[in-house]
Symmetry: C2
Subunit: 147 residues, 2 copies
Amino acid sequence: MSDSADLKKAGLKATLPRIKILSILEAAKVRHMTAEDVYKALLETGEEVGLATVYRVLTQFEAAGLVIRHNFEGGRSVFEINQGSHHDHVVCVECGEVFEFYDPAIEERQRKVAESLGFDVDSHSLYMYGMCLGMKRHGHCSKKDGH
Amino acid sequence: MSDSADLKKAGLKATLPRIKILSILEAAKVRHMTAEDVYKALLETGEEVGLATVYRVLTQFEAAGLVIRHNFEGGRSVFEINQGSHHDHVVCVECGEVFEFYDPAIEERQRKVAESLGFDVDSHSLYMYGMCLGMKRHGHCSKKDGH
DNA sequence: GTGTAAACTAGAATCATTCCCATGCAAAAG
DNA sequence: CTTTTGCATGGGAATGATTCTAGTTTACAC
């Protein structure tokens, strides 16, 4: 399978936990998952994987560029598969839904600001928090239930 | 003093811990402080304030709009006095220095994106992480020592 | 001044995450 | 295809940040 090859390409041994975690992230209906979410998904598939391993592997995946870690409000990290295309995030604080967007003008202005400061940017993140349309209109989200 | 008045205006009793914490945040040479930083600064002034109180008060200040909480990389919250003027942040991962900037074009594009999604934005944050000029040039930051 | 609700302190508890180390397993070598 | 070798894993303990709890103190209205 290709997950195994992807891991090797990233310089990581193709172990069972890593393959499983990668496939869960790829197949996830909800793209943005906490370590706990991934752990629960593993348990549901009947895998015997420790929570410590999930954290360790997600951190390795982040270092290898396979996943992106986000520090949203709330103090826990969420992860999403890195599909190569950078995008920013809009988070509904009511239902937890995460919307993605990309705005070339914003990216360009950010680049200019960093340049003017003589700053080498490794990564950047733009998050907007608020209430989504579904919550405003119907008191529940159009895509999923409130947490 | 005006700190006491500011607190009452925000609907908070003017207690000693609150007054002290507010004045520390206002007088801070380094604008962005963790709860631990604030706690240590209190101890240095000889105040007997519990760490739990610092966390509670900072959260109340955030709810009252007196301070802004940031969730930078690293998992701990940092706080800064809310001086009314929104700005975004550039964080040097080498020396910890935080630079602030404001770009009206970015703000406008964000507003448009939210509008197109029908999203009511409560707050938004834009962080860039990387290496500052001082670290690149001299191996140390121009403004302060590495952490 | 006095009463009362709100706020405080210290320490225990909780939550997310990481560490530790004996055992397991993937990839390289034979 | 077996052995070797070392990185990876699992589970529980440890850590660090933050929050809760209980009993005590304090700000402020009357």
